[in-house]
């Protein structure tokens, strides 16, 4: 199975009873909707920032799925991150329309500036639906258009490089 999503998960942390209870409550609350697994995983990420490996058996138990079923879905989708997010997140569009407006220069500038940083993670995205005002990206989740290396610097001023 090809590895999808943001990469391999870290070694499991010691079991966290409080987190397990929270994940169980989230799952139970959504278990009644049709096809609940994606809504559950979205809610776990929204609440806890990422899906920990220890969450998988809890979700599987409540939804009466195998752990392999849950892991298969978890690893298929880019959104379901399996490691804690950094303090700041830069996500830049690299799809055709943004490339046509020079996105690669902004992507390169972000990599240069934040490469190796633990406080800022730089990721790529393919289309944010802002294709007439590119290059586009999200900074800590907020959408920005007309990005240039200079504008990116201004918008991320004070972020630890």
């Amino acid at each position: 199975m090809p590895q999808r999503g943001p990469g391999p998960a870290p070694a499991p942390a010691p079991a966290d009873a409080e987190r397990a209870a929270s994940v169980r409550a989230i799952t139970e609350q959504l278990a009644g909707v049709r096809g609940p697994l994606l809504p559950v995983l979205h809610e776990v990420v929204a609440t806890h920032g990422y899906v920990h490996d220890d969450d998988v058996p809890v979700v599987a138990d409540v939804l009466n799925l195998s752990r392999a079923d849950v892991l298969g879905v978890l690893s298929f989708y880019h959104d379901f991150r399996r490691t804690p997010p950094a303090a700041h997140r830069v996500s830049l569009c690299r799809a055709e329309a943004c490339q046509a407006r020079g996105a690669e220069a902004t992507v390169a500038a972000a990599s240069d500036r934040f490469g190796g940083s633990t406080a800022v993670e730089v990721g790529e995205v393919f289309c944010l639906g802002n294709c007439a005002l590119g290059p586009s990206g999200t900074l800590d989740g907020a959408l920005h258009g007309r990005l240039t290396p200079e504008r990116l610097d201004a918008l991320t001023e004070g972020w630890e490089a």
């Binding site: 329309a97 046509a100 995205v125 007439a132 005002l133």
Partner: protein, 526 residues
Amino acid sequence: MSTTVWVPCDAAAVSVGADAVAEAFAAAGVTVRRNGSRGMLWLEPLVEVETDRGRVGYANVEPTDVAALLAGGLDDTDRCVGVVDEHPWLVRQHRVTFARVGVVEPTDLAAYRAHGGLAGLERALTLSGEQVVAEVTESGLRGRGGAGFPAGIKWDTVRTASADLKFVCCNADEGDSGTFADRMLIEGDPFTLIEGMAIAAVAVGATEGFVYLRSEYPHAVRTLRRAIEIAYAHGLLGASVLGSGRRFDLDVRVGAGAYICGEETSMLDSLEGKRGEVRAKPPIPALQGLFGRPTVVNNVLTLSAVPMVLADGGAAYAALGTGRSRGTQVFQLAGNVARGGIVEADFGIPLRELVEDFGGGTASGRPVKAVQVGGPLGAYLPPSKFDLPTDYEEFAAADAMVGHGGIVVFDDSMDAGAMARFAMEFCAKESCGKCTPCRVGSTRGVEVIDRIRAGTQRDANLVLLEDLCATMTKGSLCAMGGLTPMPVRSALEHWPEDFGVEPATANRATDAMPESATSTHGGARP
């Protein structure tokens, strides 16, 4: 009388500062209302001030402009674009699906009704399902997701299927670069989509519906959820749609960053809570779709065209357009274009008029080298092809596709070889992995293009690339693997020099274009 200003809440306007502008106006003590975007995106944030003449627009407004704008200090500058409803860029369009977008507050149901909303649903509720489907069939409406399948035929298949439960699913997983019309409609006029889905449900006997909306569109998710709440509160949705006694429940499901989920069967699996892997067809979703039940799957713009079809009659819609492409198409001008945004026009409008007259050429001011029409799986076309009329069949005959109507403009700094490589790279990254031609072929495609560009056994690798393209085209389960060769082959055909290839030898790799260019991302045969 206090001043009222309109500041768009559309994500594109917000991406260039509209929220801060709205706050600045509120702080200045004027009434601020939030509309969708008019689609003149190069002017955003486009602020409109209510006057006796109509709503007067001011382009590219920043918070620091607010005091001067309110004092009339911008009136004699080119920042003032006059009465927005009279703007030539809008007047030249034929806004049908987008008639209300940018005009009303998105979740103002009273304004929706005052601007002609709900007339289609009210009429549909007086007709039999068969009659509603007949209107849609007569309109000639075809799937706007790209595949162009006749909506009426798909609906009739679902209507005549017998089942304990049927669904209507809206594909709002608008992942193609250069397309944003689904997003702008949902953010600017969500009730149109809700009404269209309710009409589809009434027509085919469905009681539940889902909108599968991509997670990259958080503004759209919020607006649509709010609109659905309001629709329930006013009896548009729920146990008795507009008091008809017929149930229709509607929910929003958010995607999770997988491009392939714009393919309809992959979307259905994702809605079921599974990996978004493509299903083999048959069975077709119209008979065995979501949870194995008969399911209408249509794109946002297909469903949003339906209220007008029912309100004015199928014949009125069929009177627009050209050939077998009836009605209007919502074109999206994107990429390196001077005037980007939404152009809704009758089918048949030449590509040149869109790119040059509406688009105004490139944003960089350099010559146009290419446009890519129909998303990442569409062909790259040089200016010599710009006289093509926008018609499904005409484009297919030219080895291209209209697709979802997205048009991405590139200037002469574009490297067609790099874009062809990117098409394969993107396919490798986003392939669901179910079928071999797509999963493996795309990775091999990147390698082969690299070798051609590096000059390694170039002639042999050109033959290999063509073999690979033929295998992907004919052997892939869905349009992702099946159409990725389209941008690759078109790039090689028109710009062989970008691959280091002499024009004469490039032809061997472009002889056999896909036989069918009608099935693509975001929609497919029922």
